[in-house]
Symmetry: C2
Subunit: 428 residues, 2 copies
């Protein structure tokens, strides 16, 4: 069933993915039945999930969510998953902490309330568990037996772990020369881990070929042929933030940009909550954060362009290093429509921000978290982010996975095991 055309991939009404009713083209609106496809047959635009939420009563839905499990499945009525999803073996990601970051707020001069949504609390310690969990349900619905992806890091582990829990085979493709630590993190779950002699682009091209070949039959590539389902997982960040704020919209939210998908889905999630009446309809601003060494969207935003010119990435924020972000133009739309902005910071500022967040709040973020915290600081300095408003900053990964970025951090002092030596070091 691993085919790209609509005609031969329409399981039709037998697929139960809850409130999801169809795939709809984001460009031309053309609809096709739910299936493992990701591009519009009419205009090649990206396909998105269309839902039927019409039967929901606001207060009944709110109670149902609040009575749900402490993971993303509390929002099952708003996701492309079957109603009994929580009973199936999966990693149950989400419902991560929304940390009131008062010390960080004091350092940055934020007076309106500053929160860090800390997705390092997910099972494999990045937000990828949210999106992979959606792709897994789609894979089950379409009868796939192998879960796959191309990856250079977080996604490989998330797919390997999710497949292991679900009892599916996994086969993950990575550049053959990845650092040994990342290879171990991906290989430990026992699935196939294949090194490709080539760059990450070569890995991606190969995966697209494999999807169209009989050799790839029965394979669900979470970020390719299951991408419309996968991407919806990021909506849960928006849902959780609002529910954890007491069913309130934040005024401002700072989201990292890799492909840009996460930012567009956070916006989609917020709009859905407004439409469903679960939060008050009021303005919010979405800000995008990039590293200077891979800042195609930030560059386009500042230049006032609608088109994103690809860049060759060169930054320590590897999990954001997508030089040609597919959803870049949509990100520009959202930042402009909501009154937000897209900004970037240098690698040095990323490292400073990682240390700042750790020192003030005890949260050790991945480089991507350094990017969002660093950009937040910069946006306040240049007046684009209002420090008197409620602001949420996303940390999408864990510092343990990017130790190299802060390798210079070390001992305050080395002493002999005596009180005299201790006093001499001036630590008392």
């Amino acid at each position: 069933m691993a085919v790209q055309t609509v005609a031969s991939s329409t399981p039709g009404s037998t697929v139960d993915l809850g409130p999801a009713t169809a795939l709809s083209c984001r460009e031309c609106g053309h609809r096709v039945p739910l299936g493992p496809v990701f591009a519009c047959e009419e205009c090649f635009g990206p396909l998105e999930i269309a839902y039927d939420f019409s039967a929901y009563d606001t207060e009944t839905l709110r109670k149902r969510i609040e009575a749900g499990p402490a993971n993303i499945w509390r929002y099952a009525p708003l996701l492309p998953v079957p109603a009994d999803v929580a009973d199936k073996p999966n990693l149950n990601p989400g419902w991560t902490k929304l940390v009131k970051a008062d010390h960080l707020a004091a350092e940055l001069g934020v007076t309106g309330g500053l929160y860090v949504k800390d997705d390092s609390g997910n099972p494999t310690h990045s937000f990828k568990d949210r999106v992979v969990a959606q792709a897994l349900e789609a894979a089950r619905a379409f009868g796939f037996t192998t879960l796959s992806c191309s990856s250079t890091g977080n996604l490989a582990g998330a797919v390997g772990a999710a497949a292991a829990r679900a009892g599916l085979r996994s086969c993950v493709f990575i550049p053959h020369d990845l650092e040994q630590g990342k290879v171990v993190m991906a290989a430990i779950y026992g699935g196939d881990l294949v090194g490709i002699e080539g760059t990450y682009d070569d890995v991606n091209r190969f995966c697209s070929e494999l999807i169209g070949d009989p050799a790839g039959e029965g394979w669900g590539f979470v970020n390719v042929n299951l991408r419309p389902y996968y991407a919806e997982g990021s909506k849960t960040l928006a849902y959780e933030i609002c529910e954890q704020l007491g069913w309130r919209l934040p005024d401002q939210i700072v989201v990292p940009i890799a492909s840009g998908s996460q930012l567009t889905k956070v916006d989609k999630g917020l709009r859905e909550l407004i439409e469903l009446g679960l939060v008050e309809d009021k303005p919010y601003k979405i800000f995008g954060a990039q590293a200077e060494g891979c800042s195609p969207v930030s560059t386009a935003f500042k230049a006032g362009h609608d088109v994103v010119r690809p860049q060759k990435p060169n930054t320590i924020a590897k999990s954001l290093a997508i030089g040609n972000p597919a959803d870049g133009p949509y990100v520009l739309d959202i930042a402009r429509r909501t009154g937000g902005a897209v900004e970037d910071v240098t690698d040095e500022q990323v490292v400073d921000a990682i240390k700042l967040l750790a020192r003030t709040e005890g949260i050790f973020a991945e480089t991507a978290g350094g990017v969002t915290v660093g950009v937040t600081r910069k946006l306040i300095e240049n007046g684009l982010l209002d420090p008197t408003k409620t602001t949420v900053v996303l940390n999408t990964g864990d510092g343990l996975k990017t130790l190299d970025a802060v390798a210079g951090t070390g001992l305050t002092a080395t002493i002999r095991p005596t009180l005299d030596s201790f006093r001499e070091a001036g630590l008392a």
Copy 2:
């Protein structure tokens, strides 16, 4: 106030630590007021927290817990913390996942229900966040301004992070030649990190000296002068397991042994739940797990001894490598009283068990988790653990912190980015 004797460290009735009423000697029962002391003035036995739970009505307490936050503070009525603890800045650890491990159960032949209590989900990814959170509240109650400890790993990060969030200074002592990765994990939170020229024993000796010296005034050492409070944090593992099982006791529980404190407190927590009527009073068995390269308690158990003979540790399970475990004799008592056992596994079996857990359940455990899973397998094989009974295995840490132990894990294959190369590798 950082003194060791009772006379000069009795803040008396002004200290609000919730239901905690006094410190009581585990050996002779002698009571002293709550204070930063850890050894009995009469017999030098270890001091434990005494509580007054007499005012609690079972069903009211149960409802209060169930309505509490999704962290250890839902059990504040049973811990030495003030009632408003959840409103103070802290890492809010706990309420980690209890994973129904059906695939692992199938591999091990467990038919009575197998669960993994996965404490890698804590904020700094080990169970240490639970105990440090208790020590932090005691430190605040006693007016300490510096949080400290001796450590070779998990504890250093947990203390650094907790102090950062709380706005306290931290000063952590480690052997000066610790691996760079561990130094980074501890240093990132911005507290003082002091390398001691010497072994871990030298570090410990130095810390004890510092507590008795004016230079250590105002210092709370979480695992020394705050140890009675600190240790109670492990009770929350027992509370959570029972509540997550639907207020049921497990039949069998497998706990790792370092100092032995955790195992004794898990037992204490289970007994409290029985006494409070929150679970049915029925027998349960507690099993202790060690690595063969540091197995003083297991060796004593098998030899039928009451005394634990110290060993020089030599194992990859560094977080369990305490050769002279303070609570060893109590562990022997509990294992024998409940009908459990203490067992050990080789480093090779630890690595195999880490891989087994990752492959079957998508959980990447620290070496300590490999010890408990490996010991569970061995206990089933030698007939000491009943596979037809409900069994809970603790995973107390995260595999990302002990990557070296599984460094051999790697690529399944390396191929060129072509379908032919893929087919040749036999991966289709």
